[in-house]
Amino acid sequence: MWVKLAFKLFSREFRRGELTIIFAAIALAVLTVFSLSAITERISLNIAHKSSDFIASDRRLSSNHAFEPQLLKQASQFGLATAQMLYFDSMLFANDELVLGSVKATTAAYPLRGKITIKDNLASKAYEVETGPKAGSVWLSEGLFYTLKVNVGDTVELGAGNFNVTKVLVKEPDAPFFSLSGNKRVLLNYADIETTQAVQPGSRVFHRLLFAGNEQELSDYYAWLKPQLKSNQNWQGLKDRQSPLGNNLDRAERFLLLAGLFGIMLAAVAMAVSAKRYCERQYDPVAMMKTLGGSRKVIRNIFLLHLSLVTTFSIVAGLAVGFILQTIGADYLATFMGTELPQAGVRPWLLSAFIGLVCALMFSLKPLLDLFDIPPLRVLRRNLGDTLAISRIHIGLSMLTIFVLMWLFSGEIVTTLILFASTLVVIAVLFALSRLLFAAGRKLGLRPGSSWSLAIATLQKRANANAIQLISFALAIKLMLFLVVLKNDIISDWQMQVPADAPNMFIINIAKEEVEPIKQFFNKHNIAHEAFYPVFSGRVDAVNGEEFARRVSKQEGEEKDESAREGVSREPNLTWLTSLPEGNEITEGEWFTDGGTGDDIEVSVFDGWQETLGLKIGDTITLLVNEQPIDAKVTSFRKVDWGSLKPNFVMILSPNMAGKVPVTYFSAAKLHDRDTKGISQLLQRYPTISMIDIKAQIEQAQSIIAQVSLAIGFVLSIVLVSGALVLISQVQASLAERMQEVVILRTLGAKGRLIKLATLYEFMLLGGIAGLVAAIVSDVALLVIQQQLFDISGRLHPYIWLLGPVSGALFVSSIGYFMVANTMRQNTQGLLRKLG
C-alpha cells in the first residue's frame, strides 16, 4: 500500500517542482562529470594519438647497445606493433665531396605513428608517406643535396656501400625540434646497415625499439619489461620527453582535471543545499503522516523510494544530457581540428553514474535521517524540528563526501588537498566575515522603512542562513574566477612559448667572415633574425683534474644525455655570451664575475648536467675542444627551457674565451615564403652554411596548442554553466524561504517596489561580498596552484579583485530581483494559500 502512496507523492512532488533542484543537482553532477570526463578522454586520446607522432610511436625503448630479440618477440605477443631504429654517424661521399651525416636506419614499420614528409626532388612539393626508403636507396635531407652536389637519382657512398638517392627527406615525425646536426640527415633501410659496415664493435650507435598499441597492451608489456630493463635501457613515452608538447599536454590534462573537480564541487554544493531544503519542506507532511498513524518504517520506505527514483531519473537524465553535450562539443572540436575524435570508453559512464549515486546518498543521508526523526508533535508545535543552521554532522559528512569524490575523480591526492584546503579557507573566512558584517550592520541603525534598512534587517535576521548562502555563492564564484584566470594564464603562457614572430629557420656553420654579409642580406630583405652566437663543440674531459670517464661511465653519461635532452647534440654545443640568454634562469651561483672579462675562464652549466656530472659551484671543468684542453670554472647553474624553440646551450662560457678556439656562428631567422628565392641565392653564395627549417615543428606545436586551448575553453564553459546553475538554484532556494516574509510584508501593505528593491540590495550585498572574498582567495590559491601544478610563474591578478565583487553582485542580484519580481506578480491571497 505504501508503495502506491509513495509513487503518488513522488509524482506530485515532482510536478510541483519540489524535487526539481535536487534532480537538477544530481543531474548536474552526473552531466558535468560525464561530459568533462568523456570530452577529456576523447581529446586526450586524440592528442596523445596525434602527439605520439612526435616520437613516431606510443612508447620507445632506447639504448646504446643492441636489444635482445626476445624484447621484440614478446611485444608482438602482447599485441603491440613494433619498429626498429638505429642512429649512427657515417661519412657520405659524392662528387668529391665528403661530409659526416647523421644516419637513421629504420625497419619497414617505421613510423608507427605519424608520417614521413618527403619531396620527389628539391623543387617539387612535399608530401607524406607511411614508410621509409626501400633497401638499396637512401633519402637525404636538403642540406646534403647542396653539400654533396647531388640530385635525386644520383648515387652516394655511405660507409662501405653505394646507395641510390631516391627522395628528399623533409621531415620525420620524431625529428628533434632543434639539432645542429639536423641538416645532414640520412634515412636508410634497416636491412642496409650491414652494407654500410659503419657499425662496428665500439661504434657510437643508438638503438631504439618503437612500440604502438592501446594503453592496456602497452602497460602490460611494460609490466613484463620493467624488471629486466638494464641501466642503459630507457623506456620513454611522450610525457617523459622534455618538449613543449609534453609540458603543454601535462598542463592541459591538469586543467581539465581541475575543471572536472570544480564541476563536482559545484554540483555537490547544490546537492547538499537542495537535499536539506527538500527534506525540510517535508517536515510538515511527515509530522502529519506520523500523527495519522504512519509508522517510521512506512515513512522511511516512502522517502527512500523517493530518493531512489529521483536518483535514477537524474542519473539517466544527466547521462543523456551529458552525452548530447559531449557529442555536440566533440563534433564541434572535431570539425575545428579537421579530425575525428576517438570514442570514449565506459569509464565516463561508470564514473559519472557512480558519482551521481554517491552524491545522492551522502548529501541526503543526514537530512533524511533528520526527516525520519521529525516528531508528530510538530502538528501542534509548528517550529519543532526546525534547525536554522545545518548540523555539524551534515557539514562533516558533506565535506568528506566532496573530498572523496574529488579524489576519486582526480586520483591525485595533492591537487585534491590543495583545492579542498583552499575551499575550507573560503568557508572559514566567509563565516567569520558574515558574522562580523551582520553584527556591524545591526549597529548602523538605518532609517526605518527604506529598502536598504529592510535589506540589512533581513540579512541580520537570517544570519545563519545567509552565512551558508554567502559561502555557497562565494564557492561558485571562486571556482569560476579561478578557472577563467587559469585558462587565460595557461594559454598566454603557451602563446609566449611559440610567439607569432618566433624564428622558423636556424642558420648554422656560419664562418666569422660570413657573419657581416649575412646580416646585411637579412637587413636588405627585411628578415627578422636573432643574434649571431659563436658556437664550438667540445667534450667534457675532466672535472677538477679527474678524468671524467672515471667519475661517470661514458655509457651512463650518454644515456642521461640522450634521454634528458632530445634536442641537444651528444657533444655539447658551447658558446660564450656576455649576458644570460632570455628564458634561462640561474638556479645556483652567479653570472660571470666582471662580465667574464677576467683571466679565468668561467662556465655556466645547464642544471640538468649538475647531477649527471656531479658538479658543484667552484669546480673546474676541462673541456677538450679540437683536442685542446680548456679549463673553465663553474660559476653558475642554469635552468634551460628546451621547449622554447630558441637557441639553447648546455654550457655558456665567459666572453674571455673569444679567440681561444675556432668557432662558427649560429643564428635564427623568421623567413617567409617570399624569401625562398633570396635564401637559395644565399645558400649558393655561402655553400658551407646550413639551414634548418623548423617551420613544420612550430606549426605542429601551434596547432596542438590551439586544439588544447579550444578544449580548455569548451570545458570551462561547461563548468561556468554549472556554476551559474548553482547560483540560480541557491537564489531560488533562498527565495522560497523568503516567501513568508514577502507575504507578510505584502499583507502589511509594503509596496512591491520596496520589497523588490530590498531583495535586490540584499542579494547585491551578498553577491558583492561573496565575489570579493572569492576573488581574494582565488588569487592566493592561483599563486600556489600555478607554481605547484602548472609550473607557471605565479602572479597576482588585480583585475579579478574588481571582477569578482562586481560580477557576483550583478549576477546574484539580478537573479534574485527577477525571481522576487515574478513572485510579486501573484496576488497576496494566492501567495498566502501557497504557504498553506
Binding site: M1, W2, K4, L5, K8, L9, R12, E13, R16, E18, D284, P285, M288, M289, K290, T291, L292, G293, G294, S295, R296, K297, V298, P375, P376, L377, V379, L380, R381, R382, R833, K834, G836
Partner: protein, 237 residues
Amino acid sequence: MSVLSQLNVIQVSGLTQRVNTLEGSLTILSDINFSVKSGESVAIVGASGSGKSTLLSLLAGLDVASQGEVHLDGDALSTLDEEARAQLRAEKIGFVFQSFMLVQSLTALENVMLPAELAGDHDAKAQAVELLDKVGLSHRLAHYPSQLSGGEQQRVAIARAFIGSPKILFADEPSANLDSKNGHLIETLLFDLNKQNGTTLVLVTHDEQLAKKCQRIIHIEGGQLEKISEGAAANVG
C-alpha cells in the same frame, strides 16, 4: 481494570508535563485527572498558554508525559513506544487541526485517503469519496489544498478525520482560522458527523460558545485542572 474504567475511552491520572528551559524546569501541566466516556464530547478550554494544547498532545500520544498516565481505549500510553502509539493513532484516532495540516501535494480526495492508506486499508477511495460528499465537497475531489478556501480545506480535514471510523476525534481549535460563517459551518459539520459515527470528541478551544456545544467542559488554568463543568449538550447526549 474496572467496568467503569472500561467505559472510559480516555482515562487521565496524575498527568504532569515539565520541560527544561534555560531558567530551569518549567511545569506546563500539573496533576491532571479526568476521564472521558465513549461517545462523549468534551471541550478543553483555557486561555492562551494555559496548557490545553499540551494536554491534547499527551492525550493523543503525540508526546510523552513527564509523570502520570493516559489510558486510551484501555492502552496505557506510557508503555507504548513511538511506533506503537502511531499504530494506536492509525486505528483509533482522528485529528482536526487549526491550521488544517493538509499535504499540499495531494488532492482533496488523496488527503482524505491518506490515513486509510497509511493503515493499509484497500477501501480508502470509496470511503473518502463518501466522506467528501458528506462535507459537501464532492465537486472538489481533484482540487489541491492551495485551490481551496480555508473553510473548504477544513472540511477536507474533517472528512480525513473520520475516515477509518476512529473511536476518538481530537480537534484543536478547528474554527479558529475561519470567519464566523465558515466557523459555524465547520462546527456544525463536526458535531453532526461525530453524532452519526458515535465518536468520542475531544475539542480544544478558547471559544466558550463552541465549548458549550459539548457535553462536558474541562477548564485548564495555569497548567492545572480548574474545574469540569457541563456543557449545553449534556442533556442532549
